[in-house]
């Protein structure tokens, strides 16, 4: 039985794995050893989504390439339960969890908290509590070293990434276009719908808005 650390591991792009162009994410060993400088600005739409292999707060493992192999779309939601923008998306609206639930056959949805230990919103019990309170059926992953966040270039909470069947980033940015309340356009829901239908996405990128991700360094 593998003994995984609670922190995220980003696995190397070995010959058998797919590494494309500008996204050269290097190995980070389990002891939080150096992560070779991820591409400036993180990933862009069209890039191969950086691989990760992580454990959620319930101890379950999640590996991106496995989900892609299983023919899943993967949605990543950068998360901080103490950020008002995350509260907006979860306490005052159920649009995120509804979207995840409605698409659960084809979509794997993961909430990722890349805050460093001691920073706002990083307490594991708090994350578990708010996950339950907000009826999030999907996992919450803690990324205290920030490796995954930095590999993707996640800047805010929330910050959404939709990865298509091909393992490439299809959409990045906002969940929705509403102002004080969650509302249209529902960018992530539309991206999922287009990917499933094999259509070109109308909107592939929006500027995310939220609290800054609480990286440690």
């Amino acid at each position: 039985m593998k003994n995984r650390k609670a922190s995220a591991l980003i696995t190397a792009m070995a010959a058998g794995l797919i590494a494309v162009g500008a996204v050269g994410v290097a190995l980070a060993s389990g002891t939080g050893g150096s992560l070779v400088e991820s591409q400036k600005d993180g990933v862009k739409v069209g890039d191969k989504a950086p691989e990760f292999s992580v454990t959620d707060i319930d101890g379950k493992a999640h590996t991106l390439s496995e989900y892609t192999k299983q023919g899943k779309i993967v949605v990543l939601e950068w998360f901080n339960p103490e950020c008002p923008f995350v509260v907006r998306a979860h306490a005052k609206s159920d649009a995120m969890v509804t979207t995840a639930e409605a698409n659960k056959d084809k979509v794997v949805w993961l909430a990722i908290n890349s805050g460093a230990p001691g920073k706002q919103g990083t307490d594991k019990d708090l994350n578990a509590k708010m996950r339950k309170e907000w009826n999030m059926a999907y996992p919450v992953v803690l990324d205290p070293s920030g490796e995954i966040g930095k590999a993707y270039g996640a800047k805010t909470t929330p910050h959404m990434y939709v990865i298509g069947f091909d393992g490439n980033v299809a959409y990045t940015g906002l969940f929705d276009g509403g102002s004080k309340e969650v509302g249209e356009p529902f960018y992530v829901a539309e991206a999922i719908k287009a990917i499933i239908a094999g259509e070109t996405l109308k909107v592939t990128e929006t500027s995310p808005k939220g609290c800054p991700v609480k990286y440690g360094n």
């Binding site: 800054p212 991700v213 990286y215």
Partner: protein
């Protein structure tokens, strides 16, 4: 790009006069007082019919907290002001003082304000205004304030000015407003040399003995590529790589600032220059 997205909170409590803090409605997860206290101030204590007057939206921001300039920010948005003006009064665009760069771990770049920050706008009173009716200017101000966490806030503020054809006197707040006016960058004009190197690269050189130069790209202008690394340079000039953004923006817009080797600011200039052509996107 959805630059209009705002997280807006209700506002309460109109106030009379240029004094007293405005109190914003509390954010869902934060029961404390806002970090920024907002009020309207004027340069003069009255206004004459047909005259113009500078009005300030003053933020007094608690230590460790900041608000945002409307720049190419990763994690914050600038305050918005919605005016409610009486008949016979119009107000111009907000003039923003120069911000400074704020970098957070994870390569997060924002352009912010700290301490006392005054946004300025020019009020015009129509010649037909009656002298027996004081003017009450009202505004709904919404902003994002951040420290460790971020809290969206809102406040309703107001200011009453008597209307008189007598010569206006400077108000007690005039020095504050005038200090802010000095912080608003003037047009670069001949003080900044702009050299286009193709359609997606530009070098800005201010006419000062600079040891360091920075460019703060406006939200409304063309995107600067990787402004965290490219928005600051040692020496006397700065070269900016620009990004295609769907052809929506044809202007290089922002603020250029320069410092001498001791770190003293030598000036800040507003840059507003049309692009020489449309930058092709990567898909072209």
């Amino acid at each position: 790009m959805n630059h209009a997205t705002k997280y807006i909170l209700a506002s309460i409590m109109p106030l009379i006069g240029g004094v007293a803090p405005a109190v914003g409605q509390l954010a869902p997860s934060d029961d404390d007082e806002p970090a920024a206290t907002v009020r309207l101030i004027a340069q003069t204590d009255s206004i004459a019919p047909g005259a113009k007057a500078w009005i300030g939206i003053e933020f007094e921001i608690a230590p460790e907290w900041h608000i945002y300039w409307p720049g190419q920010n990763d994690a914050g948005y600038a305050p918005t002001v919605e005016w409610d003006l009486p008949d016979g009064v119009t107000i111009g665009q907000i003039r923003w003082p120069k911000p400074h760069r704020h970098v957070l771990p994870g390569d997060i770049l924002d352009h912010i304000y700290e301490g006392r920050t005054v946004l300025v706008a020019l009020l015009t009173a129509s010649p037909g205004l009656e002298s027996d009716e004081p003017l009450t200017l009202r505004a709904n101000v919404e902003w994002l304030e951040c420290e460790e966490g971020c809290v969206p806030r809102g406040a309703a503020v107001s200011l009453t000015l008597p209307v008189t054809s007598a010569a206006p006197k400077r108000s007690p707040e005039a020095p504050i407003l005038e200090a802010s006016l000095a912080q608003i960058p003037g047009a670069g004009g001949t003080d900044v040399r702009i050299e286009w190197r193709g359609i997606d690269r530009v070098t800005l050189t201010p006419n000062v003995r600079a040891a360091r130069v920075a460019f703060y790209p406006s939200e409304a202008g063309v995107r600067v590529d990787d402004p965290l690394r490219n928005g600051e340079a040692r020496g006397a000039s700065i070269t900016l790589p620009l990004r295609a953004d769907g052809g929506a923006t044809a202007m290089l817009q922002g603020i250029l600032e320069a410092w001498d080797s001791a770190g003293v600011s030598l000036g800040a200039w507003a840059i507003d220059d049309p692009l020489p052509g449309t930058i092709p996107s990567d898909n072209d």
